[in-house]
């Protein structure tokens, strides 16, 4: 959920910055913003310091989990279309038949 919110803020943020900005700069500025918030948290000690120190690790780990999850879900739901291969074979037969009649060379090799 935090991640979703983060993506949303990223998107809002990217609208605020001018379009001419190179993409790597956008990403870097997001990282800088996050670091600034983290340093702020460290300074103000709203959350116990021992927890704040661990936040970057949580961040990296959650980023990695997000990536693995997306690949995993994508792989499980990978859309396949075996019936299309059969339909294509039929289309090929039909096309060969027609083209042969018209005098087009459709012999393989």
């Amino acid at each position: 959920m935090i991640l979703l919110n983060m993506i949303r803020t990223e998107q809002c943020f990217s609208h605020l910055i001018t379009c001419t900005m190179k993409h790597v700069v956008k990403i870097l500025s997001i990282l800088v913003t996050i670091s600034a918030i983290w340093v702020g948290l460290l300074q103000t000690s709203i959350v116990p310091r021992s927890h704040t120190w661990l936040l970057p690790i949580y961040f990296v780990v959650s980023l990695g989990c997000y990536g693995l999850l997306m690949v995993g879900v994508g792989l499980m739901q990978f859309p396949t279309c075996p019936q299309e291969a059969l339909l294509l074979q039929q289309d090929i037969m039909e096309a060969k038949e027609f083209l042969k009649q018209k005098g087009v060379d459709v012999s393989s090799d």
Binding site: C19, H23, G67, M70, L88, A95, L99, V104, V106
Partner: protein, 242 residues
Amino acid sequence: MEQRKEEKNKYSIIIPTYNERLNIALIVYLIFKHLRDVEFEIIVVDDGSPDGTQEVVKQLQQVYGEDHILLRPRPKKLGLGTAYIHGLKHASGNFVVIMDADLSHHPKYLPSFIKKQLETGASIVTGTRYVQGGGVHGWNLMRKLTSRGANVLAQTLLWPGVSDLTGSFRLYKKSVLEDIISSVVSKGYVFQMEMIVRASRKGYHIEEVPITFVDRVFGSSKLGGSEIVEYLKGLVYLLVTT
């Protein structure tokens, strides 16, 4: 807006070929079968195929007419990007379709590209394999894994706004294709990704339609280490230049 005008839309279908003598004949037949009531031309850019692709195209011109099939060959293999630029020079339509000659892109989807463009007025309609109604056939687990990984990486880093970055079955407004192709330098898989990312950054309206992708040449879909390195380089290149 443009569609409201009295003049009819014309679609120039650019197909780069190299040793596709059988496939080019099949694809031309299928295009004529599925594109009815639409004005179009097929521009075959052949890079000096030794297998007689150009002879077959000339035979097809006899069947379908030289105004519908244009053969614009080049002396040798000069790359995909320049093939599109070459074909573009000879295109007389106000829209351009680019597709592969190997039948992994089926012409039966052309009407849905055209319909989508007319409905939305989009500058680019791109075919996507990764939504409902789309799909891939003929890939092993490794190939699927690389594809998903590459896609998640690109989506996370580039936020391109389209689901299938490396697909190459697309419909462009001719002026838009001319505008972006001149600034694209990448080759291979990255070429298609750079095209769509640059278009997205320039603020062009991009729409997607589902397509299926049937990989018939099993050897061609192998993704080796060097391709992965090229892809990552392309990703970094796009990060710093767009």
